[in-house]
Subunit: 191 residues, 2 copies
DNA sequence: GTAGTTAGTGATTGAGTACTAACTTACGTC
DNA sequence: GACGTAAGTTAGTACTCAATCACTAACTAC
């Protein structure tokens, strides 16, 4: 048994919960599964967090923050075309290296609606705020071009979905995205 | 008590389950909730379907089929720019009129990954096949332009996500999409 | 009208789940 | 080295949920 400070434990709970929630979503993940992955007893989670919902919220928030940080760091000092390419590459790397982060993103979006319908707007506000920050983080290095930013986010969402559905990288469905990347890098190729 | 043929009942179960699964996802929806909405006893669902999973599968399949039909019918006889506009409008109408269909789509994508991870590839194959059909259905009237089709799907996914997160229609996040629609309709405006 | 079939229900079961309460073990500190 | 505190556990509760079983009510064909 390795003892940790409550803060450190909370941290590892968030990481473990991210993996679990990414796979099973909110309702498909038991607190026991999270506890097992952390290596701690299940009731102890309720000392670290007030409830299951709070864990999910913490994970969702963390996920958005880190996604933002990826875009921020990858585009640092770059502008326009170069920033776009750098962010796209960073995103692609993130997806291939940590696919669960991608799944967690989808889970977050899906869970928001249920929460809103159930009258819980706290979760929705947090996610929308996080998304706006993400949007602005991308918006700035792209020179404030709204169309470009929207398009970047749109392709990102398509990638999320296709990857989530389990299309293998060599599937023809990806062709249009590779194509668009090429076009983006060399606009003269566009017809 | 209104008696129906098993086939008719299955049909109303699918419709009811679509609403329920759209809100709660697979694990967040109880068979009792579905049965209540249908107006039938919970155990009877298991006469009509072999299990809960089968109901979800039927709903997901139906959802993809109907989405495909919307694109097919709206673009009938049209090509290129006109077809794109018609499909976009049909999609927008669908979303505002039946938001649950949109949510169900997201739920489907999210659930696939869990099924795949659990070793159940039947669901994944069905969804990927359905998506490919959807893709081809859009691809054809767009003149076989891969980039255009991919872009269309990407914006669709972004719309799904933003709507799912509960951004109100007047929120500035939508601006880029309205903009892109304008550009698409009148390419000369694009810089 | 009665025999066979199909639609549908009530009661139940067994597994799982979020969360609580009471207890125990390790750590720092004076 | 005792004492207070913070980390962590074991046992248990109240509840939900998918699925089964045995049964009843309605339609249909003869």
């Amino acid at each position: 048994m390795v003892r940790m400070s409550a803060e450190e434990r909370r941290e590892s709970v968030i990481r473990a919960a991210m993996s679990e929630f990414a796979r099973g979503g909110y309702h498909g993940t038991s607190t026991e599964a999270i506890a097992k992955r952390v290596g701690v007893s299940q009731p102890y989670l309720f000392r670290l967090f007030p409830g299951k919902k709070a864990i999910f919220l913490a994970v969702a928030e963390r996920c958005l923050q880190e996604m933002r940080r990826v875009f921020e760091e990858s585009s640092e000092g770059l502008h326009g075309e170069e920033a776009l390419r750098a962010m796209a590459e960073a995103y692609a790397r993130l997806i291939t290296e940590q696919p669960e982060r991608l799944q967690m993103q989808l889970q977050t979006y899906v869970t928001v609606a249920a929460a809103e319908a159930a009258g819980d707007h706290e979760f929705g506000e947090m996610v929308r705020k996080g998304w706006m920050e993400l949007w602005d983080t991308v918006h700035l290095p792209l020179g404030g071009d709204i169309g470009e930013t929207t398009s970047f986010m749109a392709y990102g969402m398509l990638i999320n979905t296709l990857a989530g559905m389990g299309f293998p990288p060599e599937h023809r469905i990806w062709e249009g995205l590779y194509l668009s990347a090429r076009v983006k890098r060399n606009p003269d190729d566009a017809s």
